[in-house]
Amino acid sequence: MTNESSAVAERRGFFPTLVTALIGLPELRCDVYIQPEGNARKVLYRGADSNLSIAQDATLQERGVRHLFLKEEDRERYERALAEASPPEDASVMLALTIERRRDAFETAILGGSPSHIVATAEEIARDVLQVVNHDGFAVSEAMSLLHHDKSTFQHSCNVSIYAATLAKRLGLSDAELTSLIAGGMVHDVGKRDIPGYILRKPGLLDARERELIRQHPAAGFRMVAPLGKLTWAQLMMVYQHHERIDGTGYPVGAFGEEIHLWGRLCAVADVFDALTAKRSYREPGTAAAAIAIMQGETGHFDLDLLRLWTETVT
C-alpha cells in the first residue's frame, strides 16, 4: 500500500470500476479497494505492489462483487491504462473495458454536450461495441451480469445497443449496418435529457403531468438530433419509434405494425428487455427468463418474430 492512510483516501474519494475491467488491466499498478457488504467504508483489497491476481481470485465472484474501487488520484493512471490496454481475448473483459473507457465521455456528452457531440460520441462507442458483439466468445446471456449493474443513461443506452445489435446480427445485418444501429441505440433516449432527474429516478407511480413529460421524450429526441443531418432515417426511427407498439397503442404517433420501422421495433424489444432486467433502487435485476415471460404476456406490444428470435437468443 502507498504511504497515504486509508482515512485520507476515503476523504479524497473513490471511483468504482468493474472487476472484469481490472482483469483486463494486469499492468495497472495502484491500490484497489473493496466495499464489504453492509459497510459504508471501503477497505484495501490489493496494494499497488501486490502480485495478487484479480482474475484468479474466485472469492470475488462467489461473493457477487462486481465493482472494486480506485482512488480519485489514480484516475489518470487508470484512464491511461484503459486507453493503452491491448485487446483482450475474453469477450467479457473486452465488454468491460469498452464500458469503462466510454462511460464518462458519454455521460458528459449527454449532460452538457451539444446534440452533435452526443452523436459523435455515440458513433465512437459504436465501433467499440461492434467489436464486442462480433467477438466469437460473446454471448448476451453471459454478458448480462456486466450489463445490468446500474441504471445510468450510459449503461441503459449501451445495453439497448448491444441487445439490438445482437438481435439484428441474427437478422443478417452487415457490420456497417450494425455500427449504425449501435450508434442509434446509444442516442435512442436522448430526448430524456430534458426531463428532470427526479422524475426519471422516481421509484413509485408517476402522476399525469410526469407521465406526459416522459411520453414526450421520443419526439423531443427526434427534434434534437434529426436536424443535424448526421443520422440515417433508420437511426432516427430508433429515437422516434421505440415506444410505439405493434398494435398501434404506443406513442408518440400510435403507429401500427410495419408502419413502425424495423429498427424501431428492434429497439423496442431491446429497450423493454433492459428495463426489465436492469437493477433498480427498489428491486434486484430480473432474470432473462422472467423478462421474456413478461414480454410474451404483453400482447400487441412487440413484433412477434423479433420477440421469438430474441427469446432464442437469451434463453
Binding site: F222, L236, F256
Partner: protein
C-alpha cells in the same frame, strides 16, 4: 389571416417530382371527433381557433430527405386554424420539424412546420403545424407572438 408572398406549392421538392398521397376516406365519426372548436370558455390558447373543413394541398420541403425520408405531397382536410397554425387530417405520416408548403382554398400559400402527428386510423393521420414564415402577429392579449408555437402545437 395574414398570408405571405411565398409562391404556391408545387408537387415538386428540390426540383424533383414527388409522390402525391390523396386524401384518405374519412368516416363521419372521425370527422366529428376531430372537428375543430371555436373559442371555449377557459381556453388558454394564444389565438382563437376557427373551424375549418376544406381541402388543401400540402407539399413537404424534404427536410429529412438527406436522412433518407422521401418527401411527398398530399391532399389534406383542414380541421381548424388560428393565426398561429392549423390542424388537418391526411394520409401520409409527417414528422416533427418537417417543413411544408400549403396552398389554402383561398389561394394563399404558407409555410408550415410540423409540431406533432398522430395516427387516427388505418392510413389516416392528424397533424398540428405552426406557421413559421409569418412575422410575429400583433399582440391581442398581452402575450408574446412566440406563443403561436404553443397554440399550434397543442393537442
Amino acid at each position: 389571416m395574414t398570408t405571405t408572398a411565398t409562391a404556391p406549392p408545387e408537387d415538386k421538392c428540390k426540383g424533383k417530382p414527388v409522390r402525391h398521397v390523396p386524401l384518405p376516406l374519412i368516416d363521419h365519426e372521425l370527422l366529428q371527433r376531430t372537428a375543430g372548436g371555436g373559442a371555449v370558455w377557459g381556453d388558454s390558447r394564444r389565438f382563437r381557433r376557427f373551424v375549418a373543413a376544406a381541402e388543401a394541398r400540402l407539399v413537404a420541403e424534404g427536410t429529412y430527405a438527406d436522412a433518407g425520408h422521401a418527401p411527398c405531397s398530399q391532399t389534406v382536410l383542414l380541421r381548424d386554424l388560428s393565426r398561429g397554425g392549423l390542424r388537418f387530417l391526411h394520409g401520409a405520416e409527417l414528422f416533427p420539424g418537417e417543413r411544408c408548403g400549403i396552398k389554402l382554398p383561398n389561394g394563399s400559400a404558407m409555410r408550415l412546420e410540423v409540431m406533432w402527428c398522430r395516427r387516427m386510423g388505418a392510413g389516416i393521420y392528424m397533424s398540428g403545424c405552426r406557421f413559421f414564415s409569418l412575422a410575429a402577429p400583433a399582440k391581442d392579449d398581452g402575450r408574446s407572438g412566440d406563443d403561436a408555437e404553443v397554440d399550434a402545437a397543442g393537442d
